[in-house]
């Protein structure tokens, strides 16, 4: 804003009104002090942030158009710029396409499932007839705060074919449980259910806050107008929850697109790559030392995250009238 810079009077109205008679440094000096103190406070963060976060984001983009390999770190001159070759190669890389497909299923099925479950629990807890609210809230939230690695170990234990709790319970109902994680068609759905199990507490907390923010008199008015419970939900609760839903959808999607730990610990991407995710495929390429190619994969993941967030904004912002 050049306009501000040219003014001789300090731009802050609060200072203008008070310090009139007393001695006071000229505007230019004040602005310099402002810049100095401003950067003084921001500098430690800025240095660390640029070096370890913003810098690598840019560096990754640069690396993605090179053929950088781990061996090149000793000899930087062996690196060639290959343009979009890495990106082109991705689309004929069967492993990557499989991984992208699995990730798509995980997100497309997992996000709505997780959101529906968390909304159901939130509605139940918000219905006004519930005691033990704290117990439920804490219990359902528990998996969100715990290590996904530990959880994956525990679930692998629960899902063991012969000695696991899951099949034991199914057996109680006369169902013979399968070998969940070793089955090509069942492994991914199992991880989806586990994802919903783990994340529904997060959505629940946010939905509860959203539900409590809806003014009570709206419901009173609706009841007086003779609206039944379901129509109240459909035409009052759901529209009022739109911003909350948008937030839960975006956060859940960002998390799910990156899913990695669960297949890493539970299935190592198998059986037959049926649980290989995009993040896992990227990690593998990094492990093989294909740094340029891995960076390109990572960037595709980033673009997917941004695109899906935009989709959610369009879907959930569209019909809001305010």
């Amino acid at each position: 804003m050049p306009e501000v810079r040219d003014r001789t009077v300090p731009s802050d109205p609060a200072t203008d009104s008070v310090a009139e008679p007393g001695p006071r440094p000229p505007a230019r000096a004040r602005r310099t002090t402002g810049a100095l103190t401003g950067w003084g406070f921001a500098l430690p963060f800025t240095v660390l942030f640029l070096l370890f976060t913003a810098g690598p984001v840019v560096a990754s983009l640069v690396m993605s158009v090179t053929d950088l390999r781990s061996a090149d770190l000793l000899d930087p001159f062996g690196v060639n710029v290959v343009g979009i070759d890495n990106y082109v190669k991705l689309f004929s890389d069967e492993k990557f396409l499989t991984a992208a497909g699995n990730t798509a299923v995980f997100v497309v099925v997992g996000v709505p499932l997780t959101m529906a479950l968390s909304l159901l629990v939130a509605l139940g807890l918000n219905s006004g007839l519930v005691r033990f609210r704290t117990l439920f809230r804490v219990g359902y939230y528990l998996p969100v705060v715990t290590s996904i690695v530990a959880i994956s170990v525990v679930w692998r234990f629960v899902l063991q074919p012969d000695t696991g709790l899951a099949n034991e319970i199914l057996g109680f109902f006369g169902i013979e449980g399968p070998n969940w994680l070793n089955n090509e068609t069942l492994a991914l759905p199992t991880l989806i259910v586990m994802g919903a199990w783990r994340n529904l507490g997060f959505g629940m907390v946010i939905f509860l806050a959203g539900l409590q923010a809806i003014p009570k008199d709206l419901y009173e008015a609706a009841t007086i107008d003779g609206a039944k419970r379901f129509s109240q939900f459909r035409y009052l609760t759901l529209p009022m929850l739109r911003p909350t839903m948008l937030f839960v959808a975006v956060i859940t999607t960002i998390g799910y697109v990156q899913f990695f730990e669960e297949p890493f610990v539970m299935t190592q991407g198998g059986p037959l790559d049926s649980t290989l995710s995009m993040a896992y495929a990227t990690y593998n390429q990094f492990g093989f030392g294909n740094y340029g190619y891995a960076s390109a994969m990572g960037y595709v993941l980033f673009v997917v995250v941004v695109l899906l967030s935009i989709v959610w904004f369009k879907l959930l912002r569209n019909n809001v009238d305010d």
């Binding site: 007839l129 170990v153 946010i206 730990e261 990690y283």
Partner: protein
Amino acid sequence: MTRPTAERLRSRDRIAKAGLYVVLFGGLAFVVGPFVWMLLSSFKSEGEIRANPPTWWPNDATLANYGNLFDRLDFPTYFTNSAVVAVVTTVGNLLFCSAAGYALAKIPFAGKKLLFGIVLGTLMVPSIVTIVPLFVLSSNLGLVNTLAGLILPYLAQAFGVFLMRQFILSIPNDLLEAARIDAASELRIFWQIVLPLCKPALATLGILTFLSSWNNFLWPLVAATGEETYTLPVALALYAIGQNRTEYDLLLPGAVVIVLPVIIVFLLLQRHFVRGIATTGLK
């Protein structure tokens, strides 16, 4: 309204209420059940862990599995690493993010908009995107396989600055101006006025940073190349996938050690948690 109808309504309400409880408790059992089974099974003998059919309650409880964590693995080291990394990361973020957040919210300076723009721009970047350059950078700086290498990349995070800036914006300017007229230095204003007012935001940021650091997996998996710098999740995951026969007599107590401190902290602070997450979520 006649009496019988009211009564029928009330009994219908009661049935609905009972149904709701059944569903909610069923869900709760589904969510908490695996944790309870993990805890109970960690006290079972190796044979009982492999028993078919599985048992719920341990036949004769033993602490032997926890001994394995010391005998067969170096759990004290992993635990210390995890704790050091999480504590330093948390303290660093509280300090750097609140200072930068204060500057971004209340002090006019050149480059402020650009800085905030960059911060916002990186909020959505998946961690896998920066893994490669971070690793290259770390190996150039000699940070691979050091605790500093696990800490530094997370010491100043975009989310923290965003949260602190938003919170500090709500502090009235008059308060700060009054202190400036009294010739208080900016540092004193920050330390004695701004920070005390930020306690709720600092609590939220502290809890969230500690948790995400304690549970962090991808970067430590890449950067901790030797056992001496393993954090708990890395040690557990590598042990879980490294064996031909999965040794649950070691993995279960390991999982308990990772999860239990977090659960205790969570139960103690759950009010702050839920409030903090709900408010940061909706802002």
